[in-house]
């Protein structure tokens, strides 16, 4: 017979936690962040730089502006924050419904395409009307792009993850086609050129008004998810479709409606990007924001306020590390690696929020 005495017990076992107190959860998240800072620091040390100095550059890069405009860095950070927050909010209803919309990137791009149309061909419209139409067009573009995989999902039960992912690339190539084809400004040069001043968003405190829209959306999304009937339906469908049907909900209709909302918000981010920052349409309009938003939405546990906080941290990191990299003369990918390390630590610590380790007791 096998030796099944005490010696046989493994050194460490993993057990699922039933419920974690908020305090413990916050503590774990803070320790994840600290660990991430240390790990990132080690990496910088390996490159022969002083990690403390590197982190100082990140913070300064995100907050300390130039002599002429002390707010310039903060403004640049906020500019990164706007599309990230809006795109992450767009994913909230979809993810809550367990509809894995990986297509925010493409939906942002299509929002940009739709709103650029009005900026290019109706730039003579009154300023306010043109901007409102552009923003609405952006929402329609994003909703349209989200609708395609949703209809296929409802009719043929296709995999929405792959479908939305693939549509990202199609959206990107539509922009490439427009740049080099029908919307080309100068022959032989693949660019749409700048949009008319009339089609640009006004600024408040030195940042285009998108930030106000983003914050309003944050509050609206919070109420929509947690206080409305539609938000309730989304939660039920996400938890169990049989239960939703049992309760008399029409699941297809709810899925369709929710994805229109999700796509429209992502599209809105695209329109704001065109009218507020880029002032043109290019392949880089979304710049990976649609993918980062997935991580942000997850880390924020689909709570709009947490998501706003995390979006802001990500924006600081993105803006600050680009400054660090130029200040220290490091390669462009260093900032990405540091961001990656921090992200990895935070996500890895999710494991410890859900599970605990039990070590072998001393023999006695």
């Amino acid at each position: 017979m096998a030796d099944l005495t005490k010696k046989h017990e493994p050194f460490v076992r993993v057990a699922k936690r039933t419920q974690v107190s908020t305090k413990k959860s916050v503590l774990l998240q803070i320790s994840a962040f600290v660990l991430a800072i240390i790990a990132g620091g080690l990496f910088i040390l390996l490159l022969g730089e002083n990690p403390l100095e590197a982190y100082k550059h990140i913070i300064e890069g995100a907050f300390v502006g130039s002599v002429r405009n002390p707010l310039s860095s903060v403004q640049a950070t906020v500019v990164r924050f706007i599309p990230l927050l809006i795109a992450s909010l767009a994913l909230v209803p979809a993810f809550k419904m367990k509809f894995w919309n990986i297509g925010a990137e493409g939906q942002i791009i299509m929002g940009g395409v739709f709103s650029t149309y009005f900026a290019l061909f109706h730039s003579d419209w009154p300023h306010a009307i043109l901007l409102i139409v552009m923003i609405l067009a952006g929402a329609v573009g994003g909703a349209f792009w989200a609708l395609i995989p949703t209809i296929f999902k409802i009719k043929f039960n296709t995999n929405e993850t792959l479908f939305t992912l693939m549509l990202n690339y199609i959206a990107l190539y539509i922009v490439r086609y427009l740049e080099a084809g029908p919307w080309q400004r100068t022959k032989g040069y693949a660019s749409i050129g700048s949009i008319d001043d009339n089609a640009r968003l006004p600024e408040v405190f030195g940042v285009h008004i998108g930030w106000i829209i983003a914050l309003v959306l944050m509050v609206l999304m919070f109420f929509y998810i947690s206080k409305t009937k539609q938000g309730y339906e989304i939660s039920v469908v996400g938890e169990s479709q049989p239960t939703a049907r049992y309760a008399g909900m029409s699941v297809g209709k709810i899925v369709l409606r929710t994805m229109i909302i999700s796509g429209a918000i992502a599209g809105l981010a695209g329109a704001l990007q065109v009218a507020g920052i880029d002032h043109t349409l290019s392949g880089g309009i979304a710049g990976g924001v649609g993918f980062t938003a997935i991580v942000v939405a997850w880390l924020g546990k689909l709570n709009p306020f947490y998501i706003a906080g995390i979006s802001f941290l990500f924006s600081i990191l993105a803006k600050g590390s680009s400054t660090m990299q130029t200040q220290l003369g490091l390669s462009a990918s260093v900032a990405d690696v540091v961001q990656g390390i921090i992200l990895f630590c935070v996500i890895a610590f999710e494991f410890f929020i859900n599970y605990k380790l039990i070590f072998k007791k001393k023999e006695g």
């Binding site: 005495t5 039933t18 938890e239 049992y246």
Partner: protein, 508 residues
Amino acid sequence: MSDTQYAIELRGITKIFGEIIANDKVDLTVNNGEILALLGENGSGKTTLMNILSGIYHPDAGTIKINGKEVVINSPKDSFALKIGMIHQHFKLVEVMTAFENILLGTNNKLNRKKAAEEIKTLCDKFSLKIDLKKRVCNMSVSEKQTVEIVKVLYRGANILILDEPTAVLTPQETQNLFEILRAMKKDGKAVIIITHKLNEVLEISDRVMILRKGKSIDSIETAKANAKILTEAMVGQAIDLEIERPETEKEPHALDVRHLSVKGADGRMALKDVTFDISSGEILGVAGVAGSGQKELCETIAGLHKVEKGAILFKKENIVGKTPSEIIKAGISMSFIPEDRLGMGLVASMDITHNMLLKSYKNSKGIFLDRKEAKKLAEDLVEKLSIKTPNVSTPVRLLSGGNVQKVLIGREIESNPQLLITAYPERGLDINSSYTIYNLINKQKQNGSSVLFIGEDLDVLLELCDRILVLCHGEVMGVVNAREVTKEDLGFMMAGQKISDGGENNG
């Protein structure tokens, strides 16, 4: 070291899940050649304890001795090496394989099939087990599958057998057959632990009863000295009345009329074949049948969740076939189906009690916002009325124990005052007190003039609670009988597929 060598000796076994103490210093002993019944209400820690023995969980404290030797069981494999065999409630068989192939799985005897077949045959003769080795598992009845499980465990040399609620899926006759097998094992000197909550079975088959209450081992009673009353009181911790009421009511016939209903199951086979019956108002119609005889499809079809192939369902003379679930809910039909996992349909696990109250009624309030006030009040009322154990009404339902989850579901359905209440296995896994609360609530519905379709698994309950009983077998109606007159044996024969056609007329 104790003087006697027990087959199993557990001392001070403790297992804690988060804040819940599933087992609290449990002591348990089984001798060789003894059948021990493990009795306890739902959530008393029976299954946890057995999962510790079979290596699925690891105890936080306590010692396990097998044949006098202290051991540590880390995995089912270890448990197996100690000759412990577990027959789970849900069989672990490969459906497309034959009985023979299933028995050989995981052993190293694949090469000498002839010898293996002979060994299995000897084994079967010894314990009077009847199986067709060449039959595929997917073509077997539940009782045959169970036999394969038992042979599988025995063939691998198990000396200690643990059976988790083995009779839940059997007809009374099949249960007797199983008990014969268990007695043969006992004779052979094997130690048997049987988990069940059916008292009459405990009294019939076991030598000793071990009672768990709230995770603690309360008592170990010799079966010869016990009766149903003593056992119940030990289990619940207080004296209770075991009578189920059957109040007389005014009946208005044909509140619900089901005519020639045929329905396909998920696997494409006919799940209901030409089913015809009716329920009066103020009547409880019971449905008996072994698990999977079409009960689920019947419930779902009436609730509008299942496609109808043929036939009509007349509710108050109106055909409801083809109506949407929400239209049917509005018409006053309410279904509470308690699936095996309890949360599958009807409740949203991550939501709290208040939000679960809203599931069917959230549309009734005006405006775009959810109205939580009434739901919260209803939730608080239910918690008090049904003594649901929860920190408060904002605790997610998934954190409640099984029985409490069920009270939330059934409470909500009954509170909506339906004209037709469909309830499947409402007492499944509930403790005795809660079961009686549920029976009383159902009786109250009946007295209010509602019709009740009661899908049950405990024949004793069906016989005491219902006015008439419809018996299903493979989706066909074997007959509708008067619950006051029919015997359990007759029900058993009908459940096994014998048609009886008397006493079923509705005289209301």
